[in-house]
């Protein structure tokens, strides 16, 4: 099987990689590029742990081929903080203890970032439905929803 040469942008950096044609973007990120923040919880788009933002769309990177990244812009959890300054969502997740085991957290943060970008002032219901593609088994979602609400109000003031 011949490899596919891909040139793409990840968190603002130009990145080039070679991947197999059937290799998922998630596998490329994790195994070829060392970006292990996106997790594989299911590999079938049902848990959201591998969420990234692809050209301003939230996607499950397990449902994207690596080859499809050609010429596109990717945002992953590794690019969410600016240097040592956390994104308000990251800060609020910490303050509200919106994580226990934390394995779903990168996916939730990407989904929440996408949600607030499109709807800066969501209701509780909009947050709950907006994050329904991300499974968390530890928290019962309560503190996650509160963290997103709090981050939204902080970001509006900023």
């Amino acid at each position: 099987m011949a490899g596919v040469a891909v040139s793409t942008t990840i968190n603002g950096d130009n990145v080039e990689f070679l991947c197999q044609p059937d290799e998922t973007l998630l596998d490329v990120l994790r195994d070829r590029l060392g970006l292990t923040g996106a997790k594989e919880g299911c590999g079938t788009g049902d848990c959201g742990a591998c969420s990234i933002i692809l050209d301003d769309r939230l996607v499950c990177s397990c449902l994207v081929l690596g080859a499809e990244a050609e010429g596109r812009h990717l945002e992953t959890i590794e690019g969410m903080a600016h240097g040592d300054r956390l994104h308000p969502l990251q800060q609020k997740f910490l303050e509200h203890a919106a994580l226990q085991c934390g394995v779903c957290t990168p996916g939730f943060l990407m989904a929440a970032k996408d949600l607030l970008a499109k709807n800066p002032d969501p209701t509780e219901e909009e947050i709950r439905f907006g994050l329904a593609g991300n499974l968390c088994r530890c928290t019962g979602y309560d503190k996650i929803v509160r963290a997103v609400q709090d981050a939204a109000s902080v970001m509006k003031q900023a």
Binding site: M1, A2, V4, Q20, P21, D22, T24, G43, T44, G45, D46, G48, S51, L54, R57, L58, V59, C60, C62, L63, V64, L65, A67, E68, E70, A111, D114, L115, F129, G130, L131, A132, G133, N134
Partner: protein
Amino acid sequence: MRYIRPLSIEDAAGLLADSAGTAAILAGGSDLLVRMKGGFIEPDLIVDIKAIDGLGEIRETAEGFSIGAAVPCAVLGENTALQKAWPGVVEAAKLIGSKQVQGRCTIVGNLCNASPAADSVPALVAAGAKAVVVGPRTRRTIAVEAVPTGPGKTSLAKGEIIEAILLDKRLPRSGDAYLRFIPRTEMDIAVVSAGVNLTLDEQGRVKSARLALGAVAPTVVLVEEAAEVLIGSKLDEATLERLAKVCSGACRPIDDKRGTIEFRRKVAGVLARRAATTAYARAGGK
């Protein structure tokens, strides 16, 4: 295995027609990659159609709307004109998967995956939508319900691709709606679903109607009898009761991990009634 991203629909059709092994079309990938992950399909060729000009667009034409095969369902929801004209189709498309899947999945993919439980299909069938089918040297337009022939099977020949879905202009005094039943509030496959499209006369009586049920038979069922029950009525309680009964009767469901025969029959009637009520209100009926 090869991954190719052709620039024209003819090239794509040609690649598919000429492929010796298993070929797969990739638009959103939300079904294809799941099947690849599970080992249910190992394509020798993947044809990514997203670089083809026009396939990623929704066009408003003199006849209505043309929705390209590579348009993610999320984009349908963001198109105000489409949302206003065909709220039932849009709400069905927007129910597929999660936000993450919404950014990728397409209604053509949903149709060609040929699942009896596909969310967008009953709504499209009720809406009388058509599919533009392109082969290496052919081009034809067929009714959406003619595409799936059974679970996982379509009527498309080797080398044929659906280029777009066509929806008519919204007629005055008409409206559509789609409802599905799932155990959770999100992320599930429909256990039963119902799409309804109604047009009223000036007195508010149903003039024409189409009602389709999902997940109750090997393919989506267009319930002709339901239309007969609805036509001429103002959706009074007795009509709705009859509608529910007719729809329950039209089901040929199975027992499976998602629901029982009895449950599907009963709830098909309930959803048909509720969807018809919404469509009627959207058509301006009171």
